[in-house]
């Protein structure tokens, strides 16, 4: 399949930076994503045991409600879908190319590693109080000390696990 090039990451990144400025200016909101997962999990748990959720300190801190950030995160999926469809780069794919080159097809193994990786990543993001958007982009642009320490740790951890997973190379 032909590699589609998209836009320069510098241009796309700079334009997304303007989105950040507009959001801070007009609504007073800095971009972030991981709190939304807490709120969503809270909504699901509330269906089964509302009394318990109401008493849990973390769900009191991050209430299970739909807020600005929740809609922002949904918007990311919509915006990406529009950009992909209009440029012909939408592609249904369950196993990334790099994974396939390294491990063969591996649908179930990819699903399992993605699921476990997701558990670990979100636990860490909540402990750190942010993800690459909240700490990296929003913390970074405000010159927050926490943002740069978090970014460095994100990349160090990621380099360890990604290089461990691909230590045999991917046949390229």
């Amino acid at each position: 399949m032909k590699e589609d090039n998209g836009w320069s990451p510098y241009v796309a990144g700079a334009l997304s930076g303007l989105v950040s400025i507009g959001s801070v200016w007009f609504v007073g909101k800095y971009l972030g994503a991981s709190t939304t997962f807490v709120r969503t999990t809270g909504m699901v748990e509330k269906l089964f045991s509302p009394e318990r959720v109401a008493k849990m300190p973390y769900f009191i801190k991050e209430a299970p409600i739909i807020d600005w950030q929740w809609m922002f995160v949904i918007g990311i999926a919509l915006g990406s879908f529009v950009a992909a469809i209009t440029s012909g780069s939408f592609r249904i794919q369950a196993v990334p190319d790099m994974w396939e080159r390294r491990f063969g097809y591996g649908g179930p193994s990819r699903a399992l590693v993605a699921f476990i990786g997701g558990i670990i990543a979100m636990f860490g993001a909540r402990l750190a109080d942010g993800c690459p958007s909240g700490h990296g982009l929003s913390g970074g642009l405000q010159l927050s000390v926490s943002g740069y320490i978090a970014l460095a740790c994100f990349f160090i951890g990621g380099m360890i696990s990604a290089n461990w997973l691909y230590k045999g190379g991917d046949g390229r």
Partner: protein, 175 residues
């Protein structure tokens, strides 16, 4: 209610540019962690540099407020490293996982399911974390200019210049 609409519109624009910059893909995220292709670093630093100049300009005009996360070394360092380990396995971060689904990468759905479980586990662990990790090395809401004791523009201007130099170096190296 208006906030919700602003959130959606902001997300649509952000997701659009993420997709155009090709930063939503597993291959791009893992290639950055394997130091083979720095597309996501270029995107992130371009975003940070542009927004830093804009937000601090508005801040000086008194039009916006900063919203800093506290620097709690225990949480940020340990949590950051744990996040990184998971990120290297998943190949998407919380925001990009939804964008990846938007362009048809269905493996991100497994990651999202895992992240919801991880959020639930953290909610269980939170009271214990509050008593331990989250009390270690709390320096409050601090910025780099505050720590250095200088005006923020004395950090912003060198930051932007260094970013441009880094970009030139990355292009020369073909990363």
């Amino acid at each position: 209610m208006t906030d919700l609409w602003y959130g959606l519109i902001t997300g649509v624009l952000f997701g659009f540019f993420l997709q155009k910059g090709r930063v939503l893909r597993y291959d791009k995220q893992i290639a950055a962690l394997r130091l083979q292709d720095m597309t996501i670093v270029k995107f992130m630093l371009s975003h940070i540099a542009v927004a830093m100049v804009g937000v601090y300009f508005l801040y000086d005009m008194g039009l916006v407020k900063l919203s800093l996360k506290p620097t709690i070394l225990g949480g940020v360092v340990i949590g950051g490293l744990i996040f990184g380990l998971g990120w290297g396995l998943l190949g998407y971060c919380p925001g990009t996982s939804l964008g990846a689904v938007g362009e048809g990468r269905l493996d991100a759905l497994w990651g999202m399911a895992g992240m919801l479980v991880g959020a639930g586990l953290y909610a269980e662990a939170y009271p214990a974390m509050q008593k331990t990790v989250l009390t270690w090395g709390n320096y409050g809401r601090i910025t780099i200019p505050q720590v250095l004791g200088v005006n923020h523009w004395l950090v912003i201007v060198p930051f932007v210049l260094l970013t441009v130099l880094l970009f030139r170096w990355l292009e020369k190296k073909g990363l």
